[in-house]
């Protein structure tokens, strides 16, 4: 795996071996691919909200992907904006500073997962379309959680981890 810079020394992304694109480009490309979204929604039909049919949901997902494009472009082109506006802790109970904190950037069902390295500095590890309440409940979201752990371990193994200042909070270990 390798890490590439996306913009302004603020946003980075993992590029996994065997993948054509880095994780951010891969996901945004998929989320703008109608055939991929149609197939994904059809495959996960049992998880989709009852009040939506397949074409409506595909259209919504495309709108949400457009929204993510807009938000990331705005942050990239405005020095006063930071990625903290987009990424929030994955653990909703995380109220303290956590080293290499797991983060999510979301728009409705779409999730971009990242690790926060520092203030205004994030590295994307993957992402998913999540219809179900809990990440661990579906194989595609479970896989992304495992990827995020692997990336975090990679960073730690390469010294991006200061043991003295690293606080593992109980709620993060849950």
């Amino acid at each position: 795996m390798e890490i590439v810079r996306i913009f302004n020394g603020q946003l980075f992304a993992f590029h996994f071996k065997g993948e054509k694109y880095n994780e951010m480009r891969r996901l945004l490309t998929l989320w703008n691919d109608t055939a991929y979204l149609y197939e994904f929604v059809t495959k996960n039909k049992s998880d989709i909200p009852k009040d939506l049919n397949i074409p409506e949901l595909v259209s919504q997902l495309i709108d949400h992907a457009n929204d993510i494009d807009d938000r990331l472009f705005e942050i990239s082109s405005n020095p006063e904006k930071g990625l903290e506006e987009f990424f929030k802790p994955l653990d909703n109970q995380e109220y303290h500073i956590v080293e290499l904190s797991k983060q999510k950037g979301r728009k409705n069902y779409l999730r971009l997962f990242a690790i926060k390295i520092d203030y205004h500095c994030f590295v994307i590890t993957g992402g998913t379309i999540k219809f179900h309440h809990l990440n661990k409940d579906r194989p595609h979201t479970q896989k992304e959680m495992q990827k995020m752990d692997r990336c975090r371990d990679y960073l730690k193994d390469n010294g991006v981890f200061d043991a003295d200042s690293f606080y593992e909070f109980l709620n993060e270990q849950k």
Partner: protein
Amino acid sequence: MTNKDKFIQLVSGEDNRTLADIKKRIKNRAMLRESQQIALKVLMKLADFGWSQKDLAKAMEVTPQQITKIVSGKENLTIETQIKLQHILDIPVLASYYENKMAEMDQRIVIFEKRMDKMVVQAIEYSINYQSTKVLKLERIDY
């Protein structure tokens, strides 16, 4: 050395394409939205027909790769392609779809009206014939 410094040392390079893709999508959004809506109609119709993308490629006389591009919703489709899709799958793509449907409907109404006219004429004729028969019968009774 801070955590960020250590991290930056791990970064292997810059990927300008990701942001360039975003800019391109934003710039072409109106076209992409139309293309995505057409792709969605095509995918739904294929499911209805039980057709594969290869079947559509055959019907349209194009390569399967071209169909993959069409259903991805990322293509700036030519008018020729849109006409083919509309004609083969009977899906509304161009304004001409509704114009043609309206024209077809108008034609059906004209045909229906003509048939109705014919039926009315026939009914009158039958009625006249029937009355004539009655008159004849009455005439016979009179005799």
